[in-house]
């Protein structure tokens, strides 16, 4: 890597972008103008809202009690509302003699007998409210004084409030009236208590005094700690995306990319130069937004501090200075990460227009990670430290709130994960720039008809990568919908049938059908090849040897990501089923043998065969394992099954057969099922040297024999690798021979 070239390209791209008025507007002008504009608008809107009084239509005013009169001289009584509230509450009073009152009262009496207000009444009142331009209607059908004078709770409603929840004005009117009615009701209660010679204080045996121990700065920090990290993320992403599209798709469109690619700078230098430019714009966007928003917030809050409507905002205060410092420090890794992701995605686009389409999936993809820290229970622990973006947001939140002791143990882990992600994203960018199929992607004319014809007519011996991906996605979708359709089984028979049918229908059928329809050699596609008996034995023994290691891995995953209450509940229900099982062999059949056969056919058979179209065997195994892991609904289980899938994928690739995998899978699942029933084993069983049984009935492997078995397992894997080396070599030679024959055929034809 020649850093001089990187610098040259970086400065060129920076100058180029700074001369682009659109980029300058988005990155510099928009943040500087947007927040002041929004702030001024907010102040204006607040004042606009203050000048709108609420119109309340009151029917049956004379039915209100004469003591503590709610309405005095056509307005709300002074003791129930302040001057401001009275000004904002305009009453429309109906006269006694009005026909509408008589009708309404009579109808309400009928409805009241039935116990509910009918839709007809609602519609009638809504029409009347519209006629009178009222936001709220209050109807008092019969005198309240008669009911309340008995000193007992009225048997039925004696005041009806009609609110239109679809109207903001109506809801505001209801909120205002509710406060007034609370004061009024309190006054009537006090009056009645006085009549019965009871003290008012006797109704309030408890007096609460709330005290907020948080300092003002802490309150402000807490208020901003959730908002600012999210905003920073969004600014960094949007700040990176538009320059990334212009620097990749835009260059392709303008034809300047070829010029740069034929220069002495290599692809990695070009990619890094462009990445630095995008990151610079991402950082600038975030910084300018942060500063502009900070200043605007201070200005708006100073204006709103005297306005009641701005109360909530005013209590927030401006973002504390230390939070700004942490945010500025965090911008660099966040901007680099998003810049790399944006650049890699934009490199795929052929035009700026196409590039714009990738923004939404990018935001949708990263949004769950950004929103996860907004959950009230979200906190920085080992589990959340491993999730990119989420971990950085939680770290920032902790820093802004000043909870240094809580976040300190995880800081290094968060930084490590972030560095790894940034590195991986940069590697992806360089890979994209090195990939000819990405940089010189021809326009694809996709037609369903042509595609279907191609699928049947040009199907190969083995599935393509697309077929493998389609199969994996189909299984996931089928499992998702079937998961909603099935109910919790009530009996063992029901459970057995349901498990087998669901597994066959959602996993087995798609893989089998696709191998028959989309390939010429379904048997080979599913890796149904006989292999050496020694490999079969190795598959079986490996499951025994590696079970302690997977058991510890499972414990580690459950420690890092503790299961939720729902998962615990589900496990308890499953345990309940196990307790009532008719036969242990049936349990093994359902949990070990059937899944082993069906899942191996699908994941190590069809999906892995298709994924092997990519050059890297490791990538192929990872693809099939990702689908295998994702197909398990519980997150913790997905992580473990991914790891098991990687091992099974290795065995399948090396031996080119699913039979050792089926044996491994069935034995592994069988041992796991057995470990759930470990409490039924006698105390003096013959495996005390290997494991003990814990109080809750689970198997606890001893460390030394467990590690010993793990080492034996690794040696067996190394043996499989060595033994299969010659076969792979033969395959490579066979492929080369086929390629040469094809080239010779093409040459002789022409």
């Amino acid at each position: 890597m020649c850093w001089k070239n990187v610098k040259l390209i970086w400065f060129r791209e920076l100058r180029d972008q700074l001369r682009d008025r659109r980029t300058l507007f988005t990155v510099v002008v928009l943040p500087l103008l947007l927040y002041p504009f929004m702030g001024i608008s907010l102040v204006q809107i607040t004042q606009f809202f203050r000048e709108h009084p609420t119109r309340i239509w009151i029917v049956g005013r004379n039915n209100l009690p004469s003591v503590s009169p709610l309405i005095q001289d056509g307005e709300i009584g002074e003791e129930f509302a302040g001057v401001n509230e009275r000004q904002l509450t305009e009453l429309i009073l109906s006269e006694d003699g009005e026909q509408e009152l008589q009708d309404l009262v009579s109808q309400f009496k009928k409805v009241s007998e039935n116990g509910s207000a009918g839709e007809l009444i609602d519609q009638f009142v809504q029409r009347q409210m519209a006629t009178k331009q009222a936001d709220l209607a209050v109807i008092i059908p019969k005198p309240i004084e008669q009911c309340s004078s008995t000193g007992e709770q009225p048997e039925e409603a004696n005041m009806f409030v009609f609110v239109n929840s679809a109207s903001d004005k109506s809801r505001i009117a209801y909120q205002r009236l509710e406060l007034i009615l609370q004061k009024w009701q309190r006054a009537i209660t006090d009056e009645q208590l006085a009549q019965f010679n009871l003290s008012v204080e006797s109704t309030n045996p408890i007096r609460l005094l709330q005290s907020d121990v948080a300092q003002k700065v802490e309150r402000q920090a807490a208020a901003w700690s959730k908002t600012l990290p999210l905003l920073i993320m969004i600014w960094c992403l949007t700040g990176a995306f538009y320059p990334a599209v212009d620097l990749c798709a835009g260059e392709k469109e303008r034809g300047t990319f070829e010029t740069l690619l034929s220069s002495p700078a290599n692809r990695a230098e070009i990619a890094i130069g462009k990445l630095l430019t995008v990151a610079a714009f991402s950082v600038s966007t975030a910084l300018l937004n942060l500063l502009s928003m900070g200043f605007t917030t201070m200005f708006v809050l100073s204006r709103l501090s005297n306005v009641p409507a701005g109360g909530i905002l005013a209590t927030m205060g401006p973002p504390p200075f230390q939070s700004m410092v942490w945010l500025i420090l965090a911008i660099i890794p966040i901007a680099t990460l998003f810049s790399a992701i944006s650049l890699a995605a934009a490199a795929f686009a052929r035009s700026s227009k196409e590039g714009q389409y990738y923004l939404v999936p990018l935001i949708m993809g990263s949004m769950p990670l950004m929103l996860l820290p907004m959950l009230p229970a979200a906190k920085l622990d080992i589990g959340s430290s491993l999730i990119p973006i989420t971990n950085l947001m939680l770290l920032l939140r902790g820093l802004i709130e000043g909870n240094y002791n809580e976040i300190l143990p995880y800081t290094s882990l968060v930084l490590l994960v972030t560095v790894v992600c940034v590195y991986a994203a940069i590697r992806w960018v360089v890979h994209q720039f090195n990939s000819e199929s990405v940089m010189f992607r021809a326009s694809e004319r996709f037609g369903v008809g042509a595609w279907l014809r191609h699928i049947f007519k040009d199907r190969g011996d083995m599935p393509a990568l697309g077929h493998a991906m389609l199969c994996g996605v189909l299984i996931l979708v089928a499992k998702f919908f079937v998961g909603f359709a099935v109910t919790m089984p009530q009996s063992w028979t029901e459970f057995t049938i349901q498990t087998v049918v669901v597994l066959v229908a959602t996993v087995g059928v798609p893989a089998l059908l696709m191998s028959i329809v989309l390939t010429r050699q379904p048997r080979l596609s599913l890796k149904i090849n006989l292999c050496r008996p020694s490999f079969m034995a190795a598959g079986l023994l490996l499951a025994f040897c590696l079970h302690p290691a997977f058991s510890w891995l499972s414990k580690l995953v459950l420690y890092i990501y503790p299961p939720s209450a729902n998962v615990d509940q589900m496990n308890q229900m499953m345990s309940g089923l196990f307790d009532n099982m008719p036969s242990f062999w049936l349990l093994l059949l359902i949990f070990a043998i059937v899944p082993a056969v069906i899942e191996e056919l699908a994941y190590r058979g069809f999906i892995l065969s298709g994924a092997q179209a990519v050059k890297s065997p490791l990538l192929a195994i990872a693809i099939s394992s990702l689908f295998f892991g994702a197909a398990h609904a519980v997150f913790q289980q997905s992580i473990i099954t991914f790891c098991v899938g990687m091992l099974l994928g290795f065995i399948a690739v090396r031996t080119a057969s699913i039979f050792p995998c089926i044996l491994f899978h069935a034995t592994h699942n069988g041992l796991t099922t057995l470990s759930m029933k470990a409490q039924s084993l006698p105390n003096e069983h013959g495996f005390r040297w290997l494991f003990d049984i814990s109080a809750d009935g689970a198997i606890e492997y001893h460390v030394v024999p467990g590690i010993g078995l793990f080492v034996v397992g690794c040696l067996m894997l190394a043996w499989i690798y060595r033994e299969t080396m010659s076969r792979l070599e033969r395959d490579r030679l066979e492929k080369r021979r086929l390629r040469l024959r094809r080239e010779m055929t093409v040459t002789s034809t022409t």
Binding site: D16, R19, S263, P264
Partner: protein
């Protein structure tokens, strides 16, 4: 010199369908010569030149520029060549001077030598009046001149022109022709692709006629005329392509 043997390029689309853009072509181009790649649109000329300029990687075969392999050491190859294409546009938001200067710096030229070289080239191509003009403000002719100067700034021994006069008016096209002739006289190895016979007749010492990814005939213009007994090169070109097209159709039917 340029040495190409059995150069093959196969593109794959989304449905894994293969398209053979180059089907094992071979040719040699010598210093002090203009080698012409002649063929209709889609013959594979641009693909061949993109491989020579290391923008694309070949599927099979060998290509060497001054003895340097385009696959193994593409970085060294790029220092040996100047690539001008109808597709190699110039940056809209850079001036002519900035653009040429950038590429000179990327080639590792010292500031003094770069300044001297740019002064010479800008004067030679009568471009001193557009030194500070942004690419977006230039005419097509000006842009192509800047593109040529960019390719010549590091004084490369091999120059690749891919349909370099496409879309240019007669005056600018003649300037390009003169430049190529001068470069040839300077001993440069020039490879020039075109689908216009008159350009090739004027410039090229040797030509290779391409069709559907294959070289169907190559040699000096005289050799080709003698071989096919047709003196009119445009007619010769047309008949060769038409005959090959017929063969292709009959093969496709089989």
């Amino acid at each position: 010199m340029i040495h190409v043997r059995d150069l093959t390029k196969v593109y794959k689309d989304l449905s894994e369908e293969q398209f053979i853009a180059l089907n094992g072509i071979s040719f040699d181009a010598m210093p002090g010569q203009v080698f012409g790649l002649l063929g209709p649109n889609g013959a594979g000329k641009t693909t061949a030149l993109r491989i020579l300029s290391t923008v694309l990687k070949p599927t099979a075969g060998e290509a060497r520029i001054n003895g340097v392999d385009v696959i193994e050491t593409p970085d060294l190859v790029r220092r040996q060549i100047g690539f001008v294409s109808v597709n190699t546009s110039i940056y809209d938001r850079m001036t002519a001077w900035e653009m040429v200067s950038l590429f000179g710096q990327l080639h590792g030229m010292t500031d003094e030598y770069l300044q001297h070289r740019m002064d010479v080239l800008f004067t030679r191509f009568k471009m001193n009046n557009i030194r500070s003009v942004l690419g977006s403000k230039m005419s097509t002719g000006m842009r192509q001149k800047v593109s040529i100067v960019r390719a010549l700034v590091h004084d490369p021994p091999v120059l690749i022109f891919d349909e370099a006069t496409s879309g240019l008016d007669l005056l600018v096209a003649r300037e390009v022709f003169s430049t190529i002739e001068e470069l040839k006289d300077e001993g440069k190895c020039v490879i020039y692709s075109s689908h216009i016979m008159s350009e090739v007749v004027r410039l090229c010492d040797r030509v290779a006629i391409m069709h559907r990814g294959n070289i169907i005939s190559q040699g000096t213009l005289r050799e080709l005329a003698d071989q096919y007994e047709i003196d009119d090169f445009e007619e010769l070109f047309y008949q060769l392509i038409a005959a090959n097209e017929e063969n292709w159709d009959s093969l496709a039917e089989v």
